[in-house]
């Protein structure tokens, strides 16, 4: 047999077999990995946002499709009633994306709390966006007013010296507000479905 053909068969064969094995392994572990990722990376932020919930919001999650995109909603329940719904959005910060979990009241659409799930902002400067003083200023934000810094004509006071990071948080929350507005009509339906399970 031709040398080149042999080379081809060996390399392609090994790669295909490996692909098959990996696909199998991926199928087996995928679900677990998603749950683990949520638990360890976003879990703490989600629990902060839905702090008064009595259920495990990580298990009460639901994926809905909004304008072609898939969004995962986390339901915080108290006494069987949904008190708050959290979702994740991201915006480009100073040193990479800043992932924000924002919680909303399902009735009024008011922002109940936000928390930073993931960020690589500069320690000591940009990282101060994770502080309660800053994240707390989003609580009670009206659905009609999009989150924005005071210097951008909004209502939020930025963290001194960390304008880029603060602005990233605002735009992430604003995106979440917009998403939630789109999702809200279908929520009661999702919720009912959720309650059935």
């Amino acid at each position: 047999m031709n040398d080149a053909v042999k080379m081809f068969i060996v390399l392609a064969g090994v790669t295909t077999t490996c692909g098959l094995l990996l696909a199998g392994a991926h199928d087996l572990t995928r679900e677990r990995i998603v749950t683990q990722q949520l638990r360890y990376i976003k879990g703490p932020a989600i629990r902060t946002v839905l702090s008064d919930a009595t259920n495990d919001p990580l298990l009460d999650r639901r994926v809905v499709a909004v304008s072609g995109k898939e969004v995962t909603l986390f339901f915080g329940k108290k006494g069987g009633r949904v008190t708050s719904i959290a979702l994740e959005t991201a915006a480009q910060g100073y040193a990479g994306p800043v992932h924000i979990i924002s919680g909303f009241d399902p009735e009024s659409g008011t922002c109940t709390a936000i928390a930073v799930a993931l960020s690589q902002e500069t320690p000591g400067i940009g990282s101060r966006i994770t502080g309660d003083a800053f994240t707390g200023s989003f609580t009670g934000l009206d659905p009609a007013t999009a989150a924005a810094l005071r210097k951008d004509g909004g209502t939020i006071d930025g963290v001194g010296g960390a304008t880029v990071s603060s602005r990233a948080v605002c735009s992430a929350v604003a995106a979440a507000q917009k998403l939630f507005k789109e999702i809200r009509p279908s929520i009661s339906e999702v919720e009912r479905e959720n309650a059935h399970q």
């Binding site: 100073y94 400067i125 940009g126």
Partner: protein
Amino acid sequence: MMDAVIVIFSAVFVNNILLARYLGNCPFCGVSKNLSSAWGMGIAVIFVLTIATAATWIIHHFILDPLHLSYLQTIVFILVIATLVQLVEFFLQKNAAALFQSLGIYLPLITTNCAVLGVAILAIKNSYDFIMSVVFAAASAAGFLLALLCMAGIRERLETVVLPRPFRGTAITLIIAGIMALAFFGFSGMDATLSSLAHH
């Protein structure tokens, strides 16, 4: 523009790929014996790292991500890098003989240099766009060259010095690298200054 400057500064000094991110240490100890080979290796790494990061970025964003195959990242990236290095080697040999003479021998060493795969993965992880990824890769490699040159300069001098026998060779190289890493810590303050400038 400012973003690019900060990425470059951070990749070369603050998060130096060798001294702060711990990537590419095997060639760091192996090829730092004299300045000329340090130059050769450093330039070869800049060359390969930039091409490899550009290629893996394209593959990740146009193939792996749309097909939901990002879990194959490791195997795909390393295969692409290995093939690419081989291709570059052939290409240089054919079309740029002079360049091949000076870089050629370092190319096989680069395939298993974790700096290449590491930077390709980091560029994806930091979600840089294409231009930024390339800038990041080139700057990281420039940081590699910088550290390698410093080390080679020190080791050339060190050759004439009487050392306790057990410390000769790699042992003293690592200890010097530790002291250099300590020196590079000094840059972290400058990183903070730069970023606060950018924030305003």
